[in-house]
Symmetry: C3
């Protein structure tokens, strides 16, 4: 063995390589089987200036969430397929993985001519719905997740009390997806019971999404209901989103409405992606309209907010890109939404401005 | 790069595939080397009805424990081999991995004509022993682990005080396995010292297993001793198990005896696996006989229990199966064993009933 | 499917293999891409005898830190390359991975003719500097990390108050490395801001290393400054190290100086690696010279220490080795350094002796 003083920090030539781009080896016993290791490392520097202060630091996942995953499928014959998908968030700035390791998705599916039945932790139909209009991939300073802040949103903080809401994902769910054979029409339904060890709180979830995705047009409507079991009231979310891919650019729009007891929030979204060769310009505008009452019965009608962002992506290859984003969030009334990254957050009625740039690499 | 609004939730075609069923590429420098990534995703729905209440939810690992692992071996020449095995439990309903990530096994071995020396976290000889008679793979409603409940078993709760017992695995162990060359006879020994960072408590473990496994017959006897160091007393477990593979079905039986101070538990097990083409019927009966005294000196002679279960497995392929299990547990006296999954557990002397069905996929 | 009673503990033949030693499959779309899975499992038994007591147990990573990693690179054309490196410590005796999963390194790089820009969690230039003189790979009883004990070192305990120091790695860093084209000369610089979620405390780091590495000679000098932000004072470390690979053996030496307020520590190191065929003898001597004052204003001038160690490695292959190490640490004055592994540690002015042997396997 060759010894070098740097051996402690740079492992010697690694003899076992896990690699086979596109080339999945055929196997005699189950020819269609494959397991794929995939991921993304995205690191950048972001400066967030709130009225209350400025903070600059390195952040993971600004253009695309850094992640690590494993997925595979097996052809069972007769048009049937079994597949699994395990995917977790990588905090690439520190190397940490979440406690709920595969927090992004952990599913097992059986698919056939009748569609796909999917079990486990998965995205809700509602999230898949409003994702249609998101042009910043739920990542970075311009992420749509800012609209769904569990503390700044009165509806969400009243319903979920600081715990993760049921908007994005649920544990222990049963989902159904129609097959790709209805001329572009599709349906996705999900139920998730409590008693499934859901870390996001004790609730029952039901969600439904119907859509049409063919040629340049993708349009869908979605609804979700969450029974907040300790209270007995329902948190409801519904909306519609559309994306249209024109020759020059793709444009998107969405309208999402969330309600709990006497609080309500409506999110209006416009988005655009304009690709020019290796370059790409993205822009979005979100308007948050709150109405009704806070937990202390004060009116939240004036607590609205707007988030404007523009992004530029320079693709060095299909997998690697440089990017930069500018985002501006303006609160009205006593709204306190803020762009992720500054401590403390934007004060009530204040604004939040951010600039970020970085590198994104997929594998 | 192709952009779609669903990019945030469905990573684009993954170009790096980790896959090579059976086909392990030869390497000039160490031709017999290989690293294998493996795992299982098993998700199902279970309803448990105890006299105290009913609970329904999704559970991971009912037919086969969901897991993720990495193992490899290297031919060192001269009949010698180095190998490692890292394997952790996957909670597929939430995506979580345990704090002790590779909690199922984390070992390094040197093997040769004289047998195998194995270091690390591994199964005890006793566990490998009674596993001979387990037909439900220590998974799901009918799992044999119910008999070894750290709270319901008086022996185990007195010896290990709610911490994980030494029955299943120990950290930092040194194990020995005879080679496969003694006409079916084998021996497995293990020692594990405290001071090894054992999360299961401060104890010294010694275990031994001898057996014969050839043709249709597998029979073995096993013994384990654990020095509960803060107390100074020994927890002892010993037993024997047999499995016989007849033309029609496999039948198993075991007798396991556990003692600590003046408490004692004896587990009687019968099992059967009856394969019919792609189908498989499994059944088991366990009787738990407690004797001696509880920590408060009360007699536990009457605190016995029985667990009856029947399972059906429909194999869709070698890797994927649908399954269903019915289990019934009946406590006598003040015994409080219960099938995993219902909160609260079975009351003293009460019963516990469960039904589960789901999908299991290996990769 | 073949069923055996041991199915619960020994997964059936694993059909998906992740393996391709040296042979990385070519891909049409990005021919130079590859992802490599790598790691090490190293387990051994260590006895540490301090004046205060003796402890024997199994330890992970005595010859080489047990680890698990994933790295990859992509050729972007024009001499440019994108690459990532994710690597975490494996506690092979228990199977645990750290909370900060990829705690050893989590980086994304862009490289070209102008050098490499690297983002993320990485080794500091100072660590890479003094690593030049370390012959025991920062692992086991003879590890150089003993000199940098956060509790025994007065400088480090005053500056970092028990938290991990900035000597080894920093989160959220930006680093620069010159290309391999300056006739052996190289430079490495790093900055890391607070606000990056650094778990090691709230500090700003700046480090620089310059060196010459060509033929048998490797020499370098390095300096690092850490602004301990809550206090406002700077912790400073600087030094130089050399390694010379003669025909018979490699010899190394280093001098490292650390200062904070009125405390100072100087580490003198000599090392040697003497390879003889499959065998290897290693030896090191470290002298720790403390000067100035403790937090309570008491003089620490007399609190010096020496660490002497000799190691033997028998390489069974390029990847697998047996090893044994003897180490002796002697404290003077009220110094309390001790070899890792004994509880309690060496008393003030006492000594610490250790013997360890084990197996190391790379994959």
């Amino acid at each position: 063995m060759k010894h070098s003083p740097s051996r402690g920090i740079v492992p010697r030539t690694l003899k076992i390589s896990v690699a086979a781009c596109l080339a999945v080896l055929a196997c005699t016993s189950h020819a269609q089987s494959r397991v794929t290791l995939f991921g993304a490392v995205d690191l950048g520097v972001r400066t967030v200036h709130n009225d209350a202060g400025t903070n600059t630091g390195m952040y993971s996942g600004n253009n695309y969430t850094s992640r690590l995953g494993l997925r595979g499928e097996e052809d069972l014959g007769g048009g049937m397929k079994a597949s699994f998908w395990l995917e977790g968030t990588l905090n690439a700035d520190t190397g940490a993985m979440p406690t709920q390791f595969f927090d992004r998705r952990s599913t097992l599916s059986l698919s056939g001519r009748m569609g796909e039945v999917r079990l486990g932790r998965d995205y809700t139909p509602v999230f898949r719905g409003y994702a249609t209009a998101e042009v910043f991939d739920f990542a970075g300073a311009a992420s749509m997740t800012t609209l769904y802040s569990g503390t700044a949103s009165t509806v969400l903080s009243r319903a979920f009390k600081g715990k993760t809401s049921s908007n994005g994902r649920t544990n222990g769910s049963v989902g159904y997806f129609t097959p790709d054979s209805f001329g572009g029409f599709y349906l996705n339904a999900m139920v998730s019971q409590s008693g499934d060890g859901n870390v996001s709180g004790d609730f029952d979830y039901r969600g439904l999404r119907v859509g049409y995705n063919k040629g340049p047009l993708h349009v869908n409507a979605f609804v979700g209901t969450t029974d907040i079991k300790p209270v007995g009231d329902n948190y409801r979310i519904h909306g519609a989103a559309v994306a249209y891919k024109a020759s020059l650019a793709k444009v998107t729009a969405a309208l999402v409405d969330m309600r709990y007891q006497d609080a309500r929030q409506t999110n209006y979204t416009l988005g655009m992606i304009w690709p020019v060769g290796a370059h790409e310009v993205k822009a979005t505008w979100h308007h948050i309209d709150q109405a009704g009452k806070a937990a202390n019965a004060a009116s939240i009608d004036a607590n609205d907010a707007d988030l404007l962002a523009i992004g530029y992506v320079h693709n060095l290859s299909k997998r690697t890109a440089l990017y930069g984003t500018l985002a501006y969030l303006n609160n009205k009334g006593k709204a306190g939404f803020s762009i992720s990254g500054a401590t403390p957050g934007a004060p009530a009625g204040g604004s939040s401005r951010a600039a970020e740039f970085g590198i994104r690499h997929l594998f």
